[in-house]
Point group: C2
Chain length 611, copies 2
Amino acid sequence: MASLKRWIIGSPMETKQLKHEKLPKWKALAVFSSDALSSVAYATEEILLVLMLLGTSVFFYSLPIAIAILVLLLLVTLSYRQIIYAFPSGGGAYVVARDHLGTATSLVAGAALMIDYILTVAVSISSGVAALTSAFPSLLPWKVQIGVALVLLLMILNLRGITESATVFAYPTYLFIISVLVLIAAGGWQLWHEGWHGFNYKEHASAEHLFASGYSVFILLRAFASGCSAMTGVEAISNGVPSFRPNSSKNAAITMGWMSALLGTMFLGITILAAGFGVTPLEHKTVISQIGHHVFGDSIFFYLFQMVTMLILVLAANTSFAGFPQLASIIANDRFLPRRLAARGDRLVFSNGIILLSIFAIVLIITFHGETHSLIPLYAVGVFLSFTIGQSGMLKKIWKDKEMRKPTTMLTIAAGTIVTGLVTIITVVAKFTQGAWLVIVAIPLLVWMFYRIHDHYEKLGEQLKLDEQEWMLREKMLKPKVIIPISGVSKVVAQSVQYARSISNDITAVSVIFHEEEEQKLRAKWEKFYPDIPLQVIYSPYRTILWPILDYINEVEKQANGSPVTILMPQFIVKKWWHTLLHNQTAIVLRFFLIMKKDIVIATLPYHLRE
Amino acid sequence: MASLKRWIIGSPMETKQLKHEKLPKWKALAVFSSDALSSVAYATEEILLVLMLLGTSVFFYSLPIAIAILVLLLLVTLSYRQIIYAFPSGGGAYVVARDHLGTATSLVAGAALMIDYILTVAVSISSGVAALTSAFPSLLPWKVQIGVALVLLLMILNLRGITESATVFAYPTYLFIISVLVLIAAGGWQLWHEGWHGFNYKEHASAEHLFASGYSVFILLRAFASGCSAMTGVEAISNGVPSFRPNSSKNAAITMGWMSALLGTMFLGITILAAGFGVTPLEHKTVISQIGHHVFGDSIFFYLFQMVTMLILVLAANTSFAGFPQLASIIANDRFLPRRLAARGDRLVFSNGIILLSIFAIVLIITFHGETHSLIPLYAVGVFLSFTIGQSGMLKKIWKDKEMRKPTTMLTIAAGTIVTGLVTIITVVAKFTQGAWLVIVAIPLLVWMFYRIHDHYEKLGEQLKLDEQEWMLREKMLKPKVIIPISGVSKVVAQSVQYARSISNDITAVSVIFHEEEEQKLRAKWEKFYPDIPLQVIYSPYRTILWPILDYINEVEKQANGSPVTILMPQFIVKKWWHTLLHNQTAIVLRFFLIMKKDIVIATLPYHLRE
């Protein structure tokens, strides 16, 4: 077992090896933006999938929706650039809310972020597998299995601790950026020469009557909400300011600008190409792969493009493997999550958080059959909720600080807060029945759980706190009354009796028998060896050892007059694991019950068999 | 949990309630012969299934094969009638072989019998389900599930303890006997009037050339071996002699005669009807149900007949639920199986044996998809092997006893032994590739396991035996060195220190820290409360508590100079189960390792939280 663990996750590392790399801008862009940039692989498709409810004749509307999202992206980018300057120590929505908006709000942000991280893994991996199966349809029957395998792979890599090597991230991210830009350029060239043969405004005109109904407006809002999945991950840079080389705020703000520009270009480009080529969402072929196929044909470039897309999506999932355990450890240190989430494993990573994230992501992938579009409605709510809370916290902080309180800063961040707040509401309403309700239920449940856990830790501290004065008053304890449960006379028992004699003079052996006629024989044997130690024999008509022993101990306790009662259990330890099957495990069950029920010392003296 | 167990298996019973009913002949017939009689439900079909390999033209050969089996039945019956008189105390092949043929042979018989009991459950239940699905084909897709459910039902009933109520057995057994006799009478009447329209000797004549080849002879032998499944369970009465009313031997011998006569009549009758009506084995309709359908048409009688057939087969399976746990407990008492198989549960039955049998039977039913004919090749080997060993043992016993050694007795039992021995060999050879090899592999494996287990118990006894003289020489132990692992100063620790003071003056606290800077704070706090107790602080660079503590204890042990080392573990016990998740279980892991590795006392002083 231990060597298997070593082989999978590597040798343990010393606490002192913990260090942080300072990143140049070009590396930082790769590390912090894979999540945001990769979302262009599915965002356009999600818009079209919703519009399809009204028919392909409204597909032209994907363009105004994309532009609305770009405006939103611009506002949020401006807001976060201000935040980068105002809060150079980084820290996500949870920390900001905790320090400036109070515990309750911070816990809501924490819950939203945790859900968001889990969904990032599930959505990115599902979408990555879709990129793979779009190129190789024969893999379709195994898409759930492939998704689960990828999550497990990421889990193992992260348990080994890959987070510190930023170079690994750089290649696929830049490969993806270049691929998509080449795709847009080549596709644009084709579109220019072949002419716009997809969905256009004229076609839409015939469908204008559709927009009379409120339902259609609702669907447009829903398409907008789905498209907002393109914005997931844009806040990552603002959380990672301390990782930038100095002057870190300035470098981070520049990188943030580049990231948003790239994201906007790629998203708009893909949406235009989809509309221009008249791409319709298909069940087993992603929209972006259809565009790729249109532009590159069946050449090697198409397959390379799909592989690069899959790679960036897996990388996007990987960002959660850094973020989730980090967040969970912060919340755990605040005592709102189990403490073990704050403990670093052998490889200095928060192993339990990594494992927990993997389990939840796998459950989601299996439950939703690895379908990206089934997971999307759950996704955007948490993201925009944490955007809103994070920016509100910043706003409050800046408001309090007279030096920072400049009108431009305040207005920019306020605008960001308001629009992300609005998008949160739009997302909840428009996608409520599609699955957003799940998140609306999960967030309060998580917050309730946080409080329950916190409550336990608080009460524990109070109960265990040693009061100096009260303690000094306590008298010295009397020697213990020792009870030795036996089933016969053997070397194991002899060893226990010998030990008992060294700690007390008040020793009793107790034996439970199933047939009354056994008593005489047992007593005779006992008295031959230990005439000075009383033997209590209890007949158990129902052939159970547990209850008669418990009853007996209760009786002894009553008569103990303040002496502590000690149960000394003779136990022989077998040499081979399968030998355990050959012996009744009464001692283990008895010990468990005693520890659970009684405030007495339970001592075990093991006797190791040689063969 | 406990109340669920009570609801399923009932309240515990006192050991004194153990008693044995004495049965009149008519009840004894029902109790001991359901296994034997029920086999007519599948034996004929198994013969025909093998003959089909040569084509339906040889189906007429089922009649001479049936007659050969009847001769075998006659010989075995005569042999066992002698055994009943010679060995009125009953006891199966295992006990007889153990007492008269030596351990090795008895263990082979024990292994064969155990396999036989498991297969009786699997075969009878599968065949019972086939009776059900023959009447209601819509249940076919669930045949494995129904089989498993029936085994679980029998398991629960037997855990409650139904073995003592013989009347329950009487009704279905007699219903089945009457049903089959009515079927044979009515079928015979139809055959007489309609004429023999099935397979006949003339038809066979055209296929005579087939029998030139050795292959055909081999297939005939295999058909015979399959038909021998009709004989399973005929020895049951000889094992149950003590349950008969006096004069028990005479009554048992008479009952044995009746049982064999009924079995022979029913088996021959069904085989003749199958041949006369020209019934061919079908995949989803048993041969006996086809005969039933032919005779009763689609009337209610056909459905009743199927239900009665199913009932007797379930009852046959139930006989193993009495036999297997009883046998396992005898072998366990001889220390060739884990002792817990010899322990009576709450309801005085051998619960572990019942559960073990159910598990094995369920595994077989699932593995062989609930197909009777796939299980049959495994079946007969064990049965005939134990017949042969059992009779050999009797023969040897009688040979030694001059009074019993009469020529008729000896010759009858010798004849029985020889023919069953021959059938064992035929079965192994003819059905080797069909699955008999599994049993040939399993029996030596089981015997090897028996010896390994026995070896462990023997060595255990030797190692634990208390040598009086050696013991008396031992000096009194010194007071223990007490080590208290702590992670801080709390009421839990205080309670442990107080106890430690009561048993020794040599106390050390030890704490493992992950960051070197923690030491100063911890030491200051400790010294405020316990200036007289030394605190050992160990820095663990790899953030593990286990190994530093183990190293430290090894060191202490070396310097202990004969004082026993005691680890006293302060442990707080949470109030609600889920609180356990909120705490590191280091204490439990540490305790486990210490018990496994070291011969030192590990004492736990629980501190129960109030909330």
